[in-house]
Amino acid sequence: MQLQIDGKPAFAYTAAHAIDPARPTIVFVHGAGLDHSWWGLQSRYFGYHGQNVLALDLPAHGRSAGPALGSVGEMAGWVKKLLEENKIKAAAVVGHSMGALIALEFAARYPESTQKIALIGVAYPMKVSEAFLDAARRNDQAAYDMETIWGHAPQVPLAGNPNPGMWMYGDTLARLGRLAPGVLHTDLLACNAYAGGMDAAARLQCPVQFVLGARDMMTPPRGAEELIRKIEKSRSTRVAVSGHSLMAEAPDATLDALIEFLA
């Protein structure tokens, strides 16, 4: 779906269904440098099982016009506008990595608009290494390489992809290769600078699901422990075989966790 937010073209994948405000809605928020298609299997499932799906492209990502937004708070505000444009009063928000921080912040800022949040591949704080930030600032290929290699479990380059015939590293690199210069750096800075996680966690009123990859090198599960402790009523699923890219590395386990939580 093409729409306008803040006077700029924006896009959200809806699984080829019209949005019906009377139906439950799930918003999928991608991570740094990525886009809506990262959620391909999971968003399609819910779109064909009676839910409104809005798998968005954040500004400057995928089909949404730039510039990229500079903070997690601004991105959470943008998600709110996406819901308003579609006349959706409240939704479940599923976020991955940077998208998980956005979901967390969204739920804290707009409790009346949040039914549930699922935080996938999350850590707080989400500190980014100087080397990664510096490479991204220079728009150096090394930044894309770091996101690709650290963004998957160590076994991924030498293991089979659940999606037949696809090469996970190549797919990630191709997506990152479509980004405008500076976008990845802006995203990483936003992750690195986000300081409201514990405060947001304290204010949450909705059910929370964590889905974590046991072999995640980008946001290791121990990085989510403080957040999990803070959100007493949260539930956690740890996927043994997956790294940071849970939707690609363990698509069924990720989907099953979401079905159990959201259905």
Binding site: R44, G160, P164
Partner: protein, 432 residues
Amino acid sequence: MAGPKYPGFDTLALHAGQSPDPAHGARAVPIYQTTSYVFRDAAHAASLFNMERAGHVYSRISNPTVAVLEERMAALEGGVGAIATASGQAALHLAIATLMDAGSHIVASAALYGGSHNLLGYTLKRFGIETTFVAPRSPGDFQKAIKPNTRLLFGETLGNPGLDVLDIPAVAKIAHDAGLPLLVDATFTTPFLVKPFELGADLLYHSATKFLGGHGVAIGGVLVDAGRFDWEKSGKFAQLTAPYAGFHDMDFEEESGTRAFLLRARREGLRDFGACMAPMTAFHILQGIETLHLRMPRHVESARKVVAFLSANSAVEKVLYPELPDHPDHRLAKKLLPSGCGAVFSFDLKGGREAGRKFIESLRVFSHLANVGDAKSLVIHPASTTHYRMADADLKKAGIGPGTIRLSIGLEDAADLIQDLERSLAVAAKAK
């Protein structure tokens, strides 16, 4: 701080795409000789059919053994994914059928494998897809031949049989400036000698029958997508960017972004045309790929020795090998193919057709047959075999004369190959 590293080519050639078999721990790639796969329950079946879950349904669309080969080739080429097909020709057809309809147009190098020339020049014409053939050594000719209905530029990394080196960066730029993708047949070079995606190509395919399999035991092809071409931005490919009634009104680009081409190629192309690869074939080709990094240097090394011998032999009119200073693409080859120009090349024998016949029939180590890229050395006379359907004018355009002989240098002792050639050249010289 040093950044993380990708696995090297040799490691990927042995491992990419496969984990030890989860059921039994088998280290070798198991041959999943099955047509179909049991669903967990009705909901799982429905989700697989509607592409809500990853997995296999029916081996025409995907198969676990074939998927290992596909992923390994995508890893070696640096693509987003791949589709293995029944042959190299099936891969070419799958690429074209995915991208265009009747009324479309292709600009192709004139120096193509004869089968590809037939497909483009004759067969596809019957289905309304026209091709303009241009000299591969003049990238500007590709540009001049582009029409409003052009949908693809196409050439071989090393043209058949004159080894014209395709200037991939130049032709890719022409293609991209026109909003078109460049498809490359990389059969003669394999990813060991050149990676066309790094030079700007968007799609590539191999006849995996040749150096990838490497042992002359299985026919197969593989089509790989770099995932970089922006179909939406191009605006010329409604096949990928508009809802398709033939597949649940799916807009492939919207659905999957970088994977749009492969998604339609697999879900429509394999479903409807059905030119899939058998699991046993994938196993054979995987066995070959596991030693590609060892075989290719030896193929090239022996080819260089044979080229040197032939170049100095008085019975030989001319040797066409891009590493020779008199080859028209010598400078380009040094730039694009620093690791070597492969092991398939042609030479012109003095004495024409009859000398060629005597020469071929006198060979003892070389096998006279219609294939290349085998571990065994091979020989053929293109004008009477692989390119026999081409008119004389087209033959000349492709650099083929009546005395042109094509060799594929295998892995035997180079000294034995040279001795075989030397003796047969002497016999051919007497036939004049």
